[in-house]
């Protein structure tokens, strides 16, 4: 393997030397907002998660690609991230599930990457100064510097429009229930979770409330997705109209949009939460869940006062991880109970969504917790095994 030298330049002028991996970028320059991710395994799921649209993912785990990639672990139809940064890319994969190398996948989907980077230095920098625009590739340093300087990052952009499905489609159908899932960048692991609850109609982000209600859903799901929730006003408007008409469950961006729909505010975290090890306390039981997280924006707790009850808190930085809308059958979490990648500790939330759809009245009266308490071992509630060809 011939080494092709490359560099990563951040908007603040920091330069990191490395070598090219993955796809060639046009003109030897790839740019985006650089974020770091602390999962030890699960790179394929992360890279194919549409929430990373507009971002360059810096993996803190030094060895990436060891177990290859396979058809099952895709979280969407293709990667939407702008690039990956790794310390070392495996040149040989080893795992019975693998069907290709990560490098081949990156090339196949046009994702550029850079390896050999001091990813810990990069992580410490991002931790201290916040997520930052950057550019990398084989171009000369001046070109990269210029590209980093003009890279807008993810602020003030509607990235959802880039990743949402252009056409509605349907998955699952094991029960009589009908669920409408807004695709703001939905992950397959979520679809698997929802498919266990009913037939899921996945609709584009721009679908109106009226169109949704016309499908007579038992519940509406608000998916994860990339970017700033403030730029997806059309979605929070639609959610506002749906509230009170139908039970709603949101994850990640879905939580932020639900918050904005009830008049609460969102803000950008300095470097976001991207990992599989965040402790979240379930407020009503005091139990701790280790959660998978991937978000840059967050709901302001003050703005929820009087509108919603905070149900989950992040123990690392006391940010809001979940809330329940007062007087309505609607709740959401900021983290990823569907895992993919990450722990299964919070998969009970899908069961809770099922219970809410079953009896929205009981939910509004404040009996949601019994559902969970009836099932004291959160991990015992397992999702169906991953299947090929979902979505």
């Amino acid at each position: 393997m011939t080494v092709r030298e490359a560099a990563l330049v951040l908007a603040d002028g920091s330069v990191f030397e490395g070598e090219v991996i993955g796809a060639d970028s046009p003109g030897g320059v790839a740019s985006g907002e650089v974020v770091f991710h602390t999962v030890l395994a699960g790179y394929q799921e992360v890279i194919t998660d549409p929430s990373y649209a507009g971002q360059i993912i810096n993996f803190t785990a030094p060895h990436i690609g060891n177990y290859g990639v396979n058809a099952t672990d895709f979280e969407s139809r293709r990667p939407f991230c702008r690039g990956v940064v790794v310390r070392e890319l495996a040149r040989r994969r080893s795992n019975w599930r693998a069907t290709a190398d990560l490098d081949a996948m990156l090339i196949n989907y046009g994702v550029p990457g850079i390896a050999g980077i001091d990813t810990r230095r990069l992580t410490r920098l991002l931790r201290d100064t916040g997520a930052m625009p950057g550019a990398f590739g084989t171009a000369d340093e001046a070109t990269l510097r210029a590209a980093a300087a003009v890279e807008p990052g993810t602020d003030g952009l509607d990235l959802v429009a880039q990743v949402t499905t252009p056409l509605a489609y349907t998955v699952g159908g094991r029960s009589h229930r009908t669920i409408v899932a807004y695709d703001f960048g939905i992950k397959n692991a979520i679809l698997r979770g929802l498919a266990g609850l009913g037939q899921v109609h996945v609709v584009p982000a721009s679908t109106t409330a009226a169109e949704v209600l016309a499908m007579k859903p038992d519940g509406v799901f608000l998916s994860n997705g990339p970017g700033d929730p403030a730029e997806v006003g059309y979605a929070s408007d639609a959610i506002g109209e749906l509230l009170g008409q139908v039970p709603i469950f949101g994850i990640c961006l879905g939580q932020q949009l639900l918050a904005r729909a009830i008049g609460a505010e969102t803000f950008k975290l300095p470097f976001g939460h991207h990992g599989g090890n965040h402790p979240v306390r379930h407020e009503s039981t005091g139990k701790i869940e280790i959660t998978s997280q991937n978000h840059n924006f967050c709901v302001s707790p003050e703005s929820l006062v009087g509108k919603a009850t905070v149900t989950h808190m992040n123990l690392n930085d006391d940010t809001v991880e979940g809330f329940r809308v007062k007087g309505e059958a609607a709740f959401s979490v900021q983290y990823h109970p569907e895992a993919g990648p990450g722990p299964h500790d919070a998969q009970y939330l899908f069961a809770m969504f099922g219970a809410m759809m079953q009896d929205p009245k009981a939910w509004v009266e404040g009996r949601p917790i019994q559902v969970w308490l009836a099932n004291p071992q959160p991990n015992a509630h397992r999702l169906p095994a991953p299947e090929r060809g979902v979505a």
Binding site: F36, W96, T123, P279
Partner: protein, 1095 residues
Amino acid sequence: MPKRTDIHSILIIGSGPIVIGQACEFDYSGTQACRVLKEEGYRVILANSNPATIMTDPDFADRTYIEPLTPEIIEAIIEREKPDAVLPTMGGQTALNLAMALFEKGIIGVPGTPEMIGANAEAIATAEDRGKFKEAMIEIGMNVPASGIAHTVDESMEVIKEIGLPAIIRPAYILGGRGTGIAHDIEQFRHLATEGLAASPISEILIEKSIAGWKEYELEVMRDRADNCVIICSIENIDPMGVHTGDSITVAPAMTLSDVEYQQMRDAAFACIRRVGVETGGSNVQFAVNPDTGEQVIIEMNPRVSRSSALASKATGFPIAKIAARLAIGYTLDEIPNDITKATPASFEPSIDYVVTKIPRWAFEKLPGTSGILGTQMQSVGEAMSIGRTFTESFQKGLRSLEQGRLGFNSDAAEMQYRSFSDDELTNKLGIPTPERIFYVGEALRRGISPEEVYDACKIDPWFIDQFLMIIEERTAIAESGMAGMTRQRWKRAKRMGFSDGQLAYLWSITEPEVRAARLAVGVVPTYKTVDTCAAEFAADTPYHYSTYEDTDEVRLSTKPKVVILGSGPNRIGQGIEFDYCCVHASFALRDAGFETVMVNCNPETVSTDYDTSDRLYFEPLTREDVLNVIDAETAAGGGVAPKVIVSLGGQTPLKLSGQIPAELIAGTSPASIDLAEDREKWSELCEELQIPQPPGGTAVDLEGALQIVENVGFPVLVRPSYVLGGRGMQIVHDRNHLARAMAELAGFGSIGKEGGLSAERPVLIDRFLEDATEVDVDAIRDHTGEVLIGGVMEHVEEAGVHSGDSACAIPPQNLPAWVVEVIETYTRVIAAALDVKGLLNVQFAVSGTTVYVIEANPRASRTVPFVAKATGVPLAKVATRVMLGATLAELRVEGLLKPPVSGDHVSIKEAVLPFNRFPEVDTALGPEMRSTGEVMGIDTTFSRAFYKAQQAAGTTLPTTGTVFISLANGDKPAGLVLARQLRDLGFALIATSGTADYLARFGLPVDSVVGKISEGQGLSAVNLMASGELDLVINTPRGLGARSDGEKIRKSASANRVSSVTTVEAALAAVRAMSEQADRPMTVCSLQEYHAQV
């Protein structure tokens, strides 16, 4: 949930002596537990028989009982201290087994008795009883290998019909896989089943379908009483199933599991800990994975902290034992802060941005007769851990951390020994797990044997094989380019793959200093990163560093005066926990005195590598290159002011480096003095000048030279290599042929040869061996004003010829006349002055008749320092460290650190613990080569009572009734008269071999029964008697040369059948005295604090 207020005092049970499978990791966990529980305001009572531990320092508990770990003794301690609770999960298998025995007797864990915290009896039984565990796992839907339980050999044969071969045999309630094995044919199966049943204290074995060749993983789980569960670390074994995890090279985090598989394993681990019922604390769950199908099976779980949890703690920075202790008293994970970040809670799962490798270290060279093949029974005596940003870097650092003469993954002089193998031979060797196998893999890849062929032979995962191949390819590139062809980038690339300067020097045929100079000239220096539990997501408060070659460094600036303490590396026979104790004490003492302490070590089991023992921790190999790098980094961090360096507390490891560190940096005794003591010629001259007698002798580098010396001094002689510890390669030689063999072993083909061989700098020392002499050890401290403190004079129980590390010794001396002690003390003072010692000095003497000979002097910490400190109450290591940094003994007296020794009327005995029960093929007779893995201490009011306790603590139960078998060497027969008479008086029946029986009868002491020689093959032999359980004690002394017959068989059989045995006449006399005193008055217990208060 807040901590419990319904309990006030807690008894912690330690793990006893260091044995294979149970080493200082339990001092690490126990020390953490003691600290935490004291901090939380509980009254802490500690029981542990091992004096070399930090946990048994009197400051760490309110009451410290250095007493034998037997149910009766623990019962007596409970009776005396009336604790509210017992914490049995910190002391390994020993503590769990004791707790179960006490529970069964109704002493703990039942209403009205101390509560069991951490793990209750039901949980322990479920995890430890292999049958119950399997049942429980099947009940919750886990996959387990097909298996059956047997209690007799006949039952075993039934089970194997069902399961089929190959099968693995696992005894219940054992540690480190003792008695475990894989059977490939029915004969082997019968043999292993028999052994396994014998090894299990409840005569129960699990017979399991072998899944050798599958991938092996471990998860470290923690659970709190609110049922929150987290995984601290995943560990992947490089060696596939079939090699005990303690003998496997392991890597953290898991390298070849996808998240989907990992999460499946995580769910299974939680389900397992919940079903077993470990309510609070840490557990270790082991899995096997079929590489072709991904099928996962659960192998076993340990409901306690373990060797793996210590490794996981060091690997992640998450202190499992400390947190487990807090959970045991009722806290939940979210209530405990993460020590390293301070800002986030302990209820999370560490993410790491580096690779950790653990590599075991074995001692087969000390145990002739062993096959050296690894299996399901643990055989290693220690381990090294290394951290690198990538696997290749971490792995190569790990190999050089072992200090076995290897500079990394081959590319060193030692690799030449593989060149003579044919490709077929080499491929065959890949299929047999041995300590050397990993290097054979390197050689195979170097020759161009394909990775696929290598995989087929050894079943090491292809990803790892590819990593090995990358190292080999890089090696070829480095060698081809030569030093001249190295650009800055290429230097960095080589260093990033873990190549040491020594390997580069080998590849380029130049010296290591030349490589270092060239590397520094291009500016390629290591950067130090931090172990922070969170992959840099949060700022780390704790400076726990490792080196790597990256862009930026994280060492904080500090202008406080700094002292670097070099640790002792992986445990080995001869260099173990005692030296870690000294290093830890040095750190504590210097911290208290206002220095900033910097620890360098690579042993994950120890207290010294706990991140809060020192101000800074560098987890690094103890090689010249790595140590000089740390000194450079600390000099830079100190604004150009270099730190002082302590080389004399970590045993031979740092001492060997003393000549390579700038002399002005070394604290205490100068390198020149260290060399003066080590250099045989100079040392002899000095003794002559001081007019201190020493056994006549000389040095030789070959057989010719050796013969010349013998001509002058006569046989027998003691032959020993220089610069070794623990009597490596030491032998008593009686004739010419034996001498030739001994020199050949040392010169090249033997293990010493591999470690560097003989040279003018490292000659063999040959001395006249003093027969019938009493050996005496002295530990002393001298300060720069010339005052000498005699810390302790220890009289050995066994006579000269048995390595001091393997013999029992007593403080105060029991048989030496006062004038001899005075002569010994005077010689010690004179030697200390002559060597200009500033710090510790250990001198060994042999007293023969009225002459006191000096054998050797070492201006460094000795193995006995902790024992002396516990016996006298004087913290020798702390005092010595302060003295090395310039304090005087007088000043330390004023300060209060140096108190007068305890002069109470107690006697302290140190006894060695030997690993023979794991190596049935090894003769248990003691000799000049040290083979003990650990030590215990017995304290009581008389020598005999203390000796009895020491024996019991070491696992040699001295019987009070029954039958004693005696077989003595001719020289020992007169003493046999005393033994026989006393044993008769005590009511024992006596059986002897014909020679011994005849002798005794001639002096009017007929024995009850005479047995024939085993070699004669007729009649009842001692071996038969032991197998049938008719003997309670065996006294068998070796007959010098040619004893490899009956005696050896008898001793091996005693070891195999777990019959207490004594192999020297001195020990036998002491034992019989102890037995007779014991018969008068039963054992009582007393705490160290009480002994130390009797000034």
